[in-house]
Symmetry: C2
Subunit: 204 residues, 2 copies
């Protein structure tokens, strides 16, 4: 027991159950909360109260949403025949922040990783295939992390999708914009040479 208050202790327990927050950090956060007004602490507490009740998965793309369908799927200006497959809703946010993509998404909910006991059945792959069969999808873009697990997942998906007669693409892997060539790792640099593009077709 760190403190002389079981209420502080309880709040510390709860905060330190979050990933990356230890008991000392949690205590610092709780002391910060105790320095605020009653009203502010109430707002803090209540922001988590109805979280689970109000937030649901979008029935189409499995993004998190307050409504049955998320804002991206409801948006009439987005190209509904272009699906970008991502692992996680945080990847949607990262891609949305680029403002370069106008299609819709499909959240797999992870990647195939035998080490962590995650197989294809744990991901929303059948939902993706049903979506492609049902809607008139023209292109599926794989936007998975270029790691062992991400690549495994991409290959597995590609095998499943290639007979469906749609264009399957993958986001470009290469040297990061703004990086020095000499400090780029050899795998990335090698891949960026193999995947070279005609200069006039480069995006700026």
């Amino acid at each position: 027991m760190l403190t002389s208050s079981k209420y502080i202790e309880n709040a510390v327990d709860q905060l330190s159950s979050l990933p990356g927050i230890g008991r000392k950090t949690a205590l610092r956060l709780v002391l910060n909360l105790l320095n605020r007004s009653d009203e502010e602490v109430k707002r803090f507490s209540e922001s988590f109260k109805d979280l689970k009740v109000n937030v649901q998965f979008c029935k189409t793309c499995f993004n998190l949403s307050d409504l049955e369908e998320c804002g991206i799927c409801r948006n009439l200006h987005r190209e509904k025949n272009l699906i970008c497959v991502v692992e996680d809703i945080r990847d949607i946010m990262a891609i949305e922040a680029t403002q370069q993509y106008l299609g819709v998404y499909h959240v797999l909910g992870g990647r195939i990783s035998p080490m962590d006991g995650i197989g294809p059945k744990d991901l929303r792959i059948s939902e993706l295939i049903r979506r492609i069969e049902k809607d008139d999808i023209q292109e599926v873009i794989f936007a998975l992390s270029p790691t062992l697990e991400g690549d495994t997942t991409s290959f597995y998906l590609f095998k499943k999708l290639k007979e469906m007669g749609i264009l399957v693409t993958s986001i470009a892997k290469g040297i990061s914009v703004g990086n020095e060539l000499e400090y780029t790792d050899e795998v990335t640099l090698g891949r960026s040479i193999l995947d070279r593009k005609p200069f006039e077709k480069q995006s700026i």
Copy 2:
């Protein structure tokens, strides 16, 4: 706006209002909460709900406590005529963890820091003096951080207390136990030579 849900956004706002937690970290934490059961999220939310109502300052030493007086002040085995002056309740926890101190505490609530606009009046100094006048205190130990602000606070307090006829001491500053001599900074090492003690009086 990072996400497509105003409930997530609200929870992210609240978590990122805590010190050291940015919006991306907050989002990671909220997604972790969303993966839990309704019951668990409710417990998380409720741990902060009654925090302000139930936790109060100990009327004697200003430690945080569930009752009017904290467990240390209520403890009959603690020496009530020995007060250790600390900046913060976290310092109490650090000292309690050593299991070497059997007196009581007095939490100043900060240290004199003109840069941050904290003067003697913002600290619980008058409460300390009243306590010394009222009770039969024999020794006051300064356990403030050996920084510019900590030392300033100690000097200010010493000036106030020296005419009250009580013993005023300060915790020992010197080379950390387990540290190599050659890597100790010269100020600390210099001080540890000036503050040397007869060998047979060393604590082990």
